[in-house]
């Protein structure tokens, strides 16, 4: 088992009177890639910002492994925040200076693929170009912890693939711990080793990838299913009904004739979010 790189205890955060994070306890292991999903406003981005030190929690504690210096924590926010008036070259020089990176060590290979003009201002980049540019900056830090907040969902497939390749390369090379917030999972494949799902500032699902697929199943049928099967989300269509079952265990519904189907990552997240909205409607 890997050692814990981040330990969180009793983390709470509120904006005004609204609770954003509600007494969270969890830990993140070194070298693991964790995906955090959830409905909009669940508290995912705020959680990541707390880890990045951009937000201070109202209560609780975030304990980082003492061996991780601040320079080795990299964060890309959903807004892809940078000093926009800098040119790309100035941004690189600034980042390298502040994060103690030798300018020569800066890897321009990603940027070269986009053929970016180094004298143009950051604010003139497209969203995709900006994501790649910022990712290049973070790679130069050789981060031990990488915090990514929804950066790939609105960029084109080519750049998305480029970024994911770079991310995988980074994990392979540096054994970086990645915590990412995302809404798009199709390209993720088997990358996340653990999935956390948030709802109302709490983790309602926390499983490793292997366990996750074994614990969530789907039943597709035309009829109602028995009450003793734990359903987190029900999708009704005129022709059939989909029941997402969690937690699923071997032998569940024995004799009922239900077929428990596997659910992919997108389906898992969708079921939790759908369940959340369904509860809200009630």
């Amino acid at each position: 088992m890997s050692k814990d790189i981040i330990t969180i205890h009793g983390l709470s955060l509120a904006f005004g009177g609204k609770k954003i994070l509600d007494n969270l306890d969890t830990r993140f292991e070194k070298g693991k890639t964790v995906l955090i999903a959830g409905n909009n406003g669940a508290g995912k981005s705020s959680f990541l910002k707390c880890l990045a030190g951009v937000l201070f929690p109202d209560a609780g504690e975030i304990r980082l492994d003492a061996s991780v210096p601040r320079e080795k924590i990299a964060f890309i926010s959903d807004r892809m925040s940078l000093f926009e008036n800098f040119t790309l070259a100035q941004g690189i020089a600034f980042h390298c200076r502040v994060f103690n990176v030798k300018k020569d060590d800066f890897d321009r290979s990603l940027l070269c693929k986009l053929k970016l003009d180094m004298d143009q201002k950051i604010k003139d980049l497209s969203i995709g170009e900006r994501a790649v540019y910022q990712f290049s900056l973070l790679m130069a830090q050789k981060p031990e912890i990488l915090l990514l907040d929804e950066i790939i969902h609105n960029i084109d497939p080519y750049l998305r693939e480029l970024l994911l390749e770079a991310l995988i390369g980074l994990i392979d090379e540096l054994n970086t711990s990645v915590i990412m917030v995302n809404h798009t999972f199709s390209e993720m494949g088997r990358l996340p080793e653990r999935v956390l799902i948030m709802e109302n500032g709490r983790f309602v699902f926390d499983e490793t990838s292997d366990e996750m697929h074994a614990k969530i199943k789907k039943i597709v049928t035309e009829k109602e299913i028995a009450d003793d099967i734990p359903v987190i989300f029900e999708n009704r269509t005129p022709l059939y009904r989909e029941y997402y079952v969690y937690p699923y265990s071997e032998g569940m519904g024995a004799g009922s004739g239900y077929e428990f189907l596997d659910v992919d990552l997108t389906g898992i997240v969708k079921s939790f979010i759908g369940g959340y909205y369904a509860k809200k409607r009630i």
Partner: protein, 602 residues
């Protein structure tokens, strides 16, 4: 990061430079158009100081505005810098800029004063250290507001409000203490050092620094709540501390009283509101308005009269007090607020002379009042004497074949034209050679690079009789200028510039300058008729008198008495010394320094 901040501040500085150069150019052009007779520098320096305050507000409030504007706040807060370091990096370049602009202001002002000789006060500006202090004060409050809100205009108005409240408190507290306690306080120290630092700067700076330790992307409301949570108790504590200091100051303060010993050994006491005359056994209240007592220090009573300037509302009056029967006569009244700012006045036998003009210094006239008949002659002065920013002085009175003329010096950095002005309105430029002129016993004395220049008045102007190189840079005691009736003076004394411990004698018969004595410390007082030297001031040490023959006589040794300690007082006038030590007033009369008893004094 620091480099980025310096760049940011440089941009703001550029705006400042454009502002302080551009506005005066604009106003100068308007001035030419509308004939306001304002020079570029008259506009430049006030605009510079206003610009400094604006710069302090803007640069303080925009601590994070560049990042906010560029959407870079999250990036900024993820940089590997602690909040305190971040604050330091943000504040340092701004403080450096304020420092540089303050130094530049001082330098420009200094160069301007040197080149033009124009007085600093005449440009309606504050002293440089005061501007720097206020700018820093405003900057700290602005910084402390920088995280409050995004609207700079709203915040700037808030700062203006605080500054106004502070000024109001400052002014009223001084009056209040004076009115309630009737005591004089060193209010400048108290107000600026204590009130502004403890009462204002600490409550603004400390909560900001403490709240900034957890500065993040929360809405400003959370930061504000944290800030106010700390601000309120600190403000209350600091207010109590300030009040305690003010109270201590009051307890430690002393009655605002000044004394003058008249030639008939009556003691005049001024306490701003009232003037008392002490005889041996009695005390009489003088029925006059507010008296400006400090004029008395420069002038002696003359012919049994003590000449004073008083104020009643906007009106000012020249009065004279009969020191024998305590009666008061009004000699001349300056009506309304539009009087010239020259406070000084001179007298010669039965004439009192002073300058009168509009408040701005235009239409300057020399007023000669016959103190017996109260008749006043107003003499228009020639154009070279009307030039602005000159300090007007009457340095001599000349009686020649029954006509009287006055030597009027329009000083600008010790230099300027010297005119002989007759009472019929005619005048003549004397073509003064040298600077700092004195007219004593018929001799015009001035200073040149070569030495002290002795001249004699002629029908055409004046002619140099002798130049004594020993007199180079010898500053004659200022009090010789006050009483213009100085025909009896055979010698006067002065101190040498630069080494002002050396007492020099100027022999007016042989026109020679000789060294008398080098004192251990700088002599402070040079009296009107005799030269009196106090060695060891402020620990009022030895009091010497320079006798007519150049001999020095030790008159008294004051041991262990510090005249500068609060409440203590050491004052000389031509007739004696008045001291106050721990509240007890003692009066010593010249020449024997015998102590005079006044029953109702202590």
């Amino acid at each position: 990061m620091l480099k980025k901040e310096f760049k940011e501040v440089s941009k703001q500085s550029l705006f400042f430079v454009v502002f302080v150069i551009g506005i005066p150019v604009l106003v100068s052009m308007l001035s030419m158009l509308f004939k306001w007779s304002l020079t570029y520098n008259e506009i430049f320096f006030p605009v510079y100081q206003v610009g400094m305050f604006i710069f302090a507000v803007v640069t303080g409030l925009t601590l994070f505005s560049a990042e906010r504007r560029q959407g870079g706040m999250e990036y900024l807060l993820t940089l590997p810098l602690s909040r305190m370091r971040l604050l330091g990096i943000k504040v340092l370049p701004r403080v450096v800029a304020l420092g540089v602009f303050s130094i530049l202001f001082w330098l420009l002002l200094h160069l301007y004063s040197l080149s033009s000789g124009k007085g600093v006060e005449s440009l309606l500006i504050l002293p440089t250290h005061y501007i720097a202090y206020l700018a820093l004060w405003i900057f700290i409050i602005s910084v402390s507001f920088s995280a409050f809100h995004d609207n700079i205009i709203l915040l700037a108005l808030g700062i203006l409000l605080i500054f106004g409240a502070y000024s109001l408190l400052m002014n009223n507290l001084q009056t209040l203490v004076w009115q309630v306690f009737g005591k004089y306080l060193d209010m400048n120290f108290l107000l600026f050092a204590v009130l502004s630092i403890s009462g204002f700067l600490i409550p603004f700076a400390v909560p900001f620094v403490l709240a900034f330790r957890k500065f993040d992307l929360h809405p400003a409301g959370r930061f504000n709540r944290k800030y106010l949570k700390i601000f309120v108790p600190i403000f209350i504590i600091c207010l109590f501390i300030s009040a305690f200091f003010v109270y201590s100051g009051v307890a430690y303060g002393y009655d605002y009283k000044l004394y003058y010993l008249a030639s008939n050994h009556k003691l005049i006491e001024f306490d701003w509101k009232t003037t008392y005359i002490y005889d041996r056994d009695t005390r009489t209240e003088l029925p006059s308005g507010d008296v400006y007592p400090w004029m008395c220090f420069n002038k002696c009573d003359c012919g049994g009269w003590l000449y004073l300037k008083t104020r009643s509302g906007y009106d000012q009056q020249y009065i004279r007090l009969n020191i024998a029967d305590n009666s008061v006569e009004t000699l001349y009244t300056l009506k309304g607020p539009s009087f010239y700012r020259v406070w000084d006045y001179w007298f010669f036998k039965d004439r009192l002379v002073f300058f009168e003009g509009s408040y701005s210094g235009d239409n300057l006239m020399l007023v000669v009042v016959n103190v017996e008949t109260k008749a006043a002659i107003k003499i228009n002065l020639p154009a070279p004497l009307q030039e602005k920013y000159r300090t007007m002085q009457v340095v001599g009175a000349v009686e020649d074949n029954g006509t009287r003329s006055w030597l009027v010096f329009a000083e600008k950095a010790s230099k300027g034209p010297l005119y002989r002005v007759w009472e019929d309105g005619s005048s003549r430029d004397l073509g003064l050679k040298g600077r700092s002129p004195h007219y004593i016993n018929g001799i015009l004395i001035s200073l040149e690079k070569e030495g002290m220049v002795f001249s004699r008045l002629t029908a055409a102007g004046c002619e140099v009789i002798k130049i004594d190189p020993n007199g180079k840079a010898v500053k004659i005691g200022q009090f010789y200028r006050m009483d213009l009736d100085n025909a009896r003076q055979k010698e006067v004394f002065g101190l040498r510039y630069g080494e002002e411990k050396v007492l020099m004698k100027i022999d007016l018969e042989n026109l020679e300058v000789t060294k008398v004595k080098e004192f251990r410390e700088r002599p402070i007082y040079l009296s009107h008729q005799e030269c009196i030297v106090l060695e060891g001031y402020p620990n009022a040490g030895k009091l010497y008198r320079i006798l007519g023959n150049g001999q020095i006589e030790l008159m008294r040794t004051f041991s262990g008495f510090n005249a500068q300690e609060k409440g203590n007082y050491f004052h000389h006038c031509v007739n004696g010394i008045v001291t106050r030590e721990n509240g007890k007033v003692s009066v010593y009369a010249f020449p024997k320094m015998e102590e005079l008893p006044f029953k109702k004094l202590n």
